[in-house]
Amino acid sequence: MNLSSSYVGLIGILGLLGVGFYGLLTTRNLIRIVIALQILVKATLLGLIVAGNTSNQINLVQSLAVTVIVADTVVAVIGIALAVQIRRRVGTLDVKELSTLRG
């Protein structure tokens, strides 16, 4: 176990979470929103591996990380397919223009 690498990993987790949330809150393009979700999940994966490295339970953490990667890939695939269908039917990827509710 290397404590300093754990601290550096923690800084990486916080940085990736910050960038992912920034992208999620500022972008209006549907595909970029899926990319922001990918970055947030990568922060989670890094968190899992850092926790496993610190607690010396890296194999348990790896088995959990595999599940996260599979779920993340399925979410990305469905998100991309939804974006493609929305572009075909509505003609735009801008989330602001997709809203048809008027209040």
Partner: protein
């Protein structure tokens, strides 16, 4: 010494993902994040996850993004934020400070322990997870097929109009032919 440099590069790549104007460039920066992250996983001892992340995160997902961008076109959406950027940055800084404040003391409480090998852990102790992953993959494939399927009989307005016009012309031709036959009989 390598890990701090890699982490700095990962954060920079992730930030570049949202700074680049073109979608294809964003997808390539994301692939770079995945590739560097897999090196960090390898350095931290997660070898199997490093390989999976490199092949799935940097390979498969990037190909999917490039495929989708090829279909929808590299549209440049006006990047005017829904929320004010200063407000977003403030919230994120507050969030990061709070998370750091909670997490830094926790990570210093390192523990020692032994555990079974990865294959035993994955196939025997977490066998239910594997079943859930298989179901999830099938659900994802079925969802993708459903979403990308083309409608067999599209009910778009122009096609509906074409069908109605064809029916009208057929009806008119039938009426004309019947009128001609009536005239022939009358003669």
């Amino acid at each position: 010494m390598q890990i701090p440099l890699l982490i700095a590069a990962i954060i920079m790549f992730a930030f570049q993902t949202f700074r680049s104007k073109r979608l294809i460039t964003s997808a390539l920066w994301l692939a770079g994040v995945s590739a560097l992250l897999s090196v960090v996983f390898f350095q931290l001892g997660g070898w199997q996850v490093a390989v999976i992340e490199l092949s799935v995160g940097a390979g498969l997902v990037t190909i999917l993004f490039v495929f989708a961008i090829n279909i929808v076109g590299d549209e440049v959406v006006e990047e005017r934020s829904l929320l004010p950027r200063s407000f977003v940055v403030g919230i994120i800084l507050l969030n990061t400070l709070l998370m750091g404040w909670f997490l830094f003391p926790v990570i210093s409480q390192a523990t020692e322990g032994t555990e079974p090998p990865f294959s035993t852990m994955l196939w025997q102790e977490r066998g239910l997870d594997i079943l859930v992953q298989i179901v999830l993959i099938f659900a994802g494939v079925l969802g993708l097929l459903g979403l990308l399927a083309e409608a067999k009989a599209p009910l778009d307005q122009p096609i509906a109009e074409q069908v109605a016009a064809r029916r009208e012309s057929d009806l008119k031709a039938l009426q004309d032919s019947s009128l001609e036959k009536e005239k022939e009989y009358a003669i």
